[in-house]
């Protein structure tokens, strides 16, 4: 799974991270996999890009390799469905932590 966050009120405040959902040594992989199981990504992908009405909200791009089938979703921060929100929050936190650790 690959995650990008762009947009917001300032250019440059970008986040990105990647997660191997099958990696047993990745402590977050199992939790993210379980949370993703509650989201109908295929349905979201069909409606993608989900654009909001306003301005300056974040733009999220999510690409998931679902058993060889690649699913990509682009959505405005104001259009994140409630079941996807925990996934986004964890990915943001992961990306911020990686950014902090990167020299």
């Amino acid at each position: 799974m690959e995650f990008w966050r762009s947009g917001g009120i300032v250019a440059g405040n970008r986040l990105e991270t990647a997660v191997d959902l099958d990696e047993p040594t990745d402590g977050q992989a199992a939790e993210l996999s379980e949370l993703l199981g509650q989201v109908d990504l295929a349905a979201l992908a069909q409606r993608s890009p989900l654009r909001g009405r306003g301005a300056d909200s974040y733009q999220y791009d999510l690409t998931v390799d679902d058993g060889g089938e690649i699913v990509h979703v682009t959505l405005d921060g104001t259009e994140v469905p409630s079941e996807l929100r925990p996934v986004i929050k964890r990915l943001e936190s992961r990306a911020i932590e990686e950014r902090r650790r990167t020299p």
Binding site: W4, S6, G7, G8, I9, V10, A11, G12, N13, R14, R51, G52, R53, G54, A55, D56, S57, Y58, Q59, D61, G77, T78, R85, R99, R100
Partner: protein, 358 residues
């Protein structure tokens, strides 16, 4: 008429004298006269502004009756308590006293400043020209390093303390967000690629003008920085954006280097950020800065009037490019000030300097 008061309008002044001051006084006197005259002056200013837009572009989109209705600012501020519920309870309504919560009270004050700018300068009654309530949500989410306009409300985070601090601290940010609402009603400008970058730039122009107007600053004395108040300690930078010098606002280990170009030669093609709307807005930002400083005086008087009339122009399409916008800019300047005016020369110079074809 003589008056021993320090403020010449604090004395009992006849309405006819107030009207004369509103028409011929300096900026401070005009603002005071506008406030004192209230509805009557709003009607006069609305007729002047409507006339200017009519002269520049034809019939206004909003109803003239709406523009002439008595002004009434209405503010509501909600506290999301670090959740994401945008229908959170209202904690401060129009006329309520300070709450003691800095985010609530800052949002309330700056919404009022922004409303007052649009009303006193452009005779515009709120976002929709018809007294739409200004609805702000503060304390949105946790460690939220952002503020946004969702089509109906302005939403402010508290910042993480790592990148940004409380975003309600910035009048330019508040004016920017409310400016998006004005653009939504007067444009629209689709929030993608060049039209989206214009949307972003015009919001920055409004934010800058609101702050300058509150302080009575001239264009050459202003900082032209957006969001200078909210960078966290330790962040290497001066602001979110520098309209005078795009690309120089920050250079930070975490934020990276400010990616804004100031010339079309450096236009950024990207799919991120809705096609780079916060990146390429640097180009029209610099054009507006050049226009305002070339003309001198206060930015809202000529440069702001040209910008505002361009936004309301019927030839401005939802997917307008920088070039189309610049051409309408030029037509508006010709209509308002004459083909041989310094304003026309300044518009040509500004857009040419940033590499936008007219």
């Amino acid at each position: 008429m003589s008056c021993s008061c320090r403020d010449p309008l604090h004395c009992i002044v006849p309405e006819t004298v107030l009207r004369n001051i509103a028409e011929h006084g300096d900026e401070r006197q005009r603002r005071a006269a506008l406030k004192t005259l209230g509805v009557d002056q709003t009607l006069r200013a609305a007729r002047v502004e409507t006339g200017a837009r009519l002269a520049a572009s034809g019939p206004p989109r909003a109803s003239v009756a709406g523009a002439l209705s008595p002004p009434s600012v209405e503010r509501v501020v909600r506290n999301a308590q670090n959740g994401m519920d945008l229908t959170a309870p209202v904690v401060r309504r129009e006329g309520d006293g300070k709450t003691g919560d800095p985010a609530v009270d800052e949002a309330y004050e700056y919404l009022g400043d922004t409303w007052s700018f649009f009303f006193e300068v452009f005779a515009r009654n709120s976002i929709d020209q018809n007294g739409m309530a200004l609805d702000a949500v503060v304390h949105f989410d946790e460690d939220f390093d952002n503020a946004f306009w969702n089509g109906e409300q302005m939403v402010f985070g508290d910042g993480s303390g790592q990148l940004f601090t409380r975003l309600t601290q910035s009048l330019t940010v508040c004016g920017h967000e409310l400016g998006h609402g004005v653009i939504q009603f007067d444009g629209p400008l689709v929030y993608q690629r060049q039209s989206g970058a214009l949307n972003e730039s015009i919001a920055d122009c409004f934010g800058a003008m609101v702050a300058q107007y509150k302080e009575g600053q001239t264009a050459d004395a202003a900082s032209w920085l957006i969001g200078s108040e909210i960078l966290a300690e330790g962040v290497s930078g001066r602001a979110l954006r520098d309209m005078a010098n795009p690309g120089t606002a920050f250079d930070d280990d975490v934020l990276g280097k400010d990616p804004q170009p100031g010339h079309m030669d450096d236009f950024v093609e990207t799919v991120q950020d809705s096609g780079g709307v916060h990146i390429n807005s640097g180009i029209p930002n610099r054009a507006f800065y050049l226009l305002a400083t070339t003309l001198g005086g206060h930015s809202w008087e000529s440069a702001g009037r040209i910008l505002y009339a361009t936004l309301g122009h019927p030839r401005l399409r939802a997917n307008s490019s920088f070039s189309r916008f610049a051409r309408i800019n030029l037509d508006v300047a010709r209509t308002l000030y004459g083909a041989q005016s310094e304003q026309v020369d300044a518009v040509v110079g500004a857009w040419t300097t940033v590499g936008v074809e007219l």
